[in-house]
């Protein structure tokens, strides 16, 4: 019998510290669904998804019961639709999105990612058509998530597409104004997008993977926080390196839970196991927050001087613990700082300690980026594009993944409040300084060349 202490500490992580498996995401290759006839293509896609994922929900429930670990979300990620739907018009791509939506509903998953385009080196007419269809897709479907990869370290940044996305994101928000612009929360703009990311809204199934694969996203800010609280009670005068060691130990245990669940789900479904994404994913629930961990280390509020340093240490410690726990680490694997989805970050934004500039600085040492950031509805499209360009540049020039999920809130100004409810949370709308001052820069278009660090051969 394992030591009683070990049994009880594992139990405590689940019962008292909000440990869960945030998502089991099945990646599905759709390449062999391709057909020039739209109806045939849609039928192929529906058949492929509903066949591959028919047992996903029930298998997750069985494994969750077996180990006493909640699995919060079951999700799907498919081959970027730009590749599958190349040659179809925007209105036809909307029909493909409806097919994805119906297939996801049929197999009981809450979100399906992969309505995506990869345009970091340049863009095809197919990619432009997909981006053109986004306002309709994200306003008319319930489960479909979209992403656009606009930059990589190897190829630089596609500013033409960023400029277009600035306009489109505002269109998407306005198309969902009855839901406070929620459609924009289902679109991620990426630099160096990983092909095995299990988290939404940016998940898609990369070309290099197996036909069908299971990826896992763990949670765990609450576990890290409680572990740190106990450690600080026991060793009140501890140093930062001791704190980092404690975080590593907790990260190990959280990652192992994810890997066990993932491998068992994959084995039962008879598909490959892919990766565990180590990202600490907060929820709006108090006690399950990245910001609270930063405060515990010694900052009065998230966003004050020291925030970037503490976040860097946290992110690094999480990775070190996770890498020891699993040989299959992938995805984004860092600490998320989604303003609306983290009660402490939202509170710091409300009090004025966390500004969009400080948040951007913090994203240089973590994943993913300007995530779930509500901005005024009257933000200028070029300013929005420039804001995204700044974040994408951090990723491209530092050889890491960054992304933006910026949500213009129609009819609302900075300082007002917005709530999407559930896991999407709530926050004050953040001020974007210099609105309207970036038009000439964005208007130049073209391509920001790949940085010198891309030449590594």
């Amino acid at each position: 019998m394992p030591r009683t202490d070990d049994i009880l500490s594992t139990l405590r992580m689940v019962k008292q510290e909000n440990l869960d498996v945030r998502t089991v995401t099945m990646g599905i290759n759709l390449f062999h669904c391709i057909d020039r006839n739209l109806e045939t293509l849609c039928n192929n896609i529906y058949e492929r998804i509903t066949t591959s994922a028919k047992d996903l929900h029930s298998t997750c429930e069985t494994v969750s019961t077996r180990y006493g670990i909640p699995i919060v979300n079951k999700r799907l990620a498919v081959t970027p639709i730009q590749r599958i739907g190349d040659g179809f018009r925007p209105e036809e791509l909307v029909q493909i999105a409806h097919t994805l939506d119906r297939a996801a509903a049929a197999v009981g998953v809450d979100l399906i990612g992969g309505f995506s385009a990869l345009v970091h080196s340049g863009h095809t007419q197919g990619a432009l058509n997909l981006i053109e269809s986004l306002p309709e897709v994200l306003s008319q479907t319930e489960r479909v998530c979209a992403s656009v990869n606009v930059g990589t370290t190897k190829s630089g940044i596609n500013m033409n597409i960023l400029s277009l996305l600035g306009k489109k994101i505002i269109e998407i928000a306005n198309a969902t104004s009855d839901r406070q612009g929620f459609g924009a929360a289902k679109l991620v703009v990426f630099a160096n997008a990983p092909e095995d990311n299990p988290f939404m809204a940016g998940a898609f199934h990369g070309d290099a993977g197996a036909d069908t694969v299971i990826h896992i996203g763990v949670s765990g800010p609450g576990v890290v926080k409680r572990g740190l609280e106990r450690f600080l009670e026991a060793v009140p005068g501890c140093t930062l390196d001791e704190i980092a060691s404690e975080i590593k130990c907790t990260s190990f245990r959280v990652t192992r839970v994810g890997e066990l669940i993932g491998r068992e789900v994959a084995a039962r479904l008879g598909v490959k196991f892919g990766i565990v994404d180590l990202s600490l994913a907060p929820t709006p629930k108090v006690g399950d927050s990245i910001g609270e961990i930063l405060e515990l280390v010694g900052l009065k509020h998230v966003g004050v001087p020291g925030s970037t340093a503490v976040l860097a240490m946290l992110n690094d410690a999480v990775k070190k613990g996770g890498v020891f726990a699993s040989s299959s680490v992938g995805g984004l694997s860092g600490a998320f700082v989604p303003v609306m989805e983290d009660a402490s970050l939202a509170d710091a934004a409300k009090k004025g300690f966390l500004t969009i500039e400080k948040l951007e600085a913090m994203t240089s040492v973590c994943s993913v980026g300007l995530d779930m950031v509500p901005v005024p509805g009257d933000i200028d499209p070029d300013t929005l594009a420039a804001l995204m360009a700044d974040e994408i540049a951090i990723g491209v020039f530092n050889n890491k993944t960054t992304a933006t999920r910026i949500v213009p809130i129609p009819g609302k100004r900075a300082g007002e409040h917005v709530s999407f409810g559930g896991l999407f949370g709530e926050s004050v709308i953040m001020n974007v300084p210099g609105n309207g001052c970036s038009a000439s820069f964005v208007g130049r278009g073209g391509h920001i060349p790949a940085p010198i660090q891309s030449l590594r051969n």
């Binding site: 019998m1 394992p2 030591r3 009683t4 070990d6 049994i7 009880l8 594992t10 139990l11 992580m13 689940v14 019962k15 069985t62 019961t65 077996r66 180990y67 006493g68 670990i69 190990f252 245990r253 192992r256 839970v257 890997e259 066990l260 491998r263 068992e264 994959a266 084995a267 039962r268 008879g270 490959k272 020891f324 726990a325």
Partner: protein, 200 residues
């Protein structure tokens, strides 16, 4: 020609008690096969599986150990495995789960839970239960659950027993504890299916 016996000894815990027991056994020519010892609330108890020369009778063994351990006031019991009907669960016919119950100390709780478990033919292979200083109660049971038992139904039934007493019950497969506390590679069931999958 040898003969195996199962022996239990219990006494108030004192330094030197195990030394006395094992010395007595050595004089009887015994060879220990398996031993489990614990101290609970100041009392020492040990269960031994020992092999003796064939000519040693049970009466002689008990008398010698009692005499040798007299200073410690040890109570001794001896069983012959060949005269008992032993439960035999073959490894592979069951899976190991841990049942954890926490909450207020409610009299009769272990009785109710063990009654429900026994209906399913589940063996309780280990048990730890302790009343905490704050009068709450922690119990951990190691269960050998025969293959085919619906764990969800069992869990729901046990929750129904416990919830009315304000207790929290959790049933988890042993692999979760190996995964979170042991740095060695993840253990999985069914292992064969996984190996086949990765042998492509």
């Amino acid at each position: 020609m040898t003969k195996r016996y199962i022996i239990t000894l219990m006494a108030a815990n004192r330094v030197g008690i195990l030394s006395a027991v094992t010395t007595g056994l050595a004089e009887l020519g015994a060879n220990l096969m398996e031993v489990s010892q614990t101290v609970l609330n100041g009392f020492f108890t040990i269960i031994l599986d020992a092999e003796f020369p064939g000519h040693r009778s049970p009466d002689v063994i008990v008398a010698h150990l009692k005499d040798f351990c007299r200073p410690y006031g040890v109570e001794i019991d001896l069983k012959d495995p060949e005269e008992e009907e032993l439960q035999n669960m073959t490894e592979g016919d069951f899976e190991r789960f841990f049942l954890t119950v926490t909450g207020n100390d409610e009299p009769g709780m272990i009785r109710q839970i063990s009654a429900r478990i026994s209906q399913e033919g589940i063996d309780i292979s280990d048990l730890y239960a302790k009343r905490q200083p704050d009068t709450s109660f922690v119990m951990v049971m190691e269960l050998s659950v025969p293959l085919g038992i619906d764990v969800l139904v069992l869990k729901n039934d046990l929750e129904a027993v416990c919830i009315k007493e304000g207790l929290t019950v959790t049933l988890q497969h042993e692999n979760i504890f190996a995964a979170t506390n042991d740095p060695r590679p993840i253990r999985l069931l069914p292992v064969k299916a996984v190996h086949d999958l990765y042998a492509e």
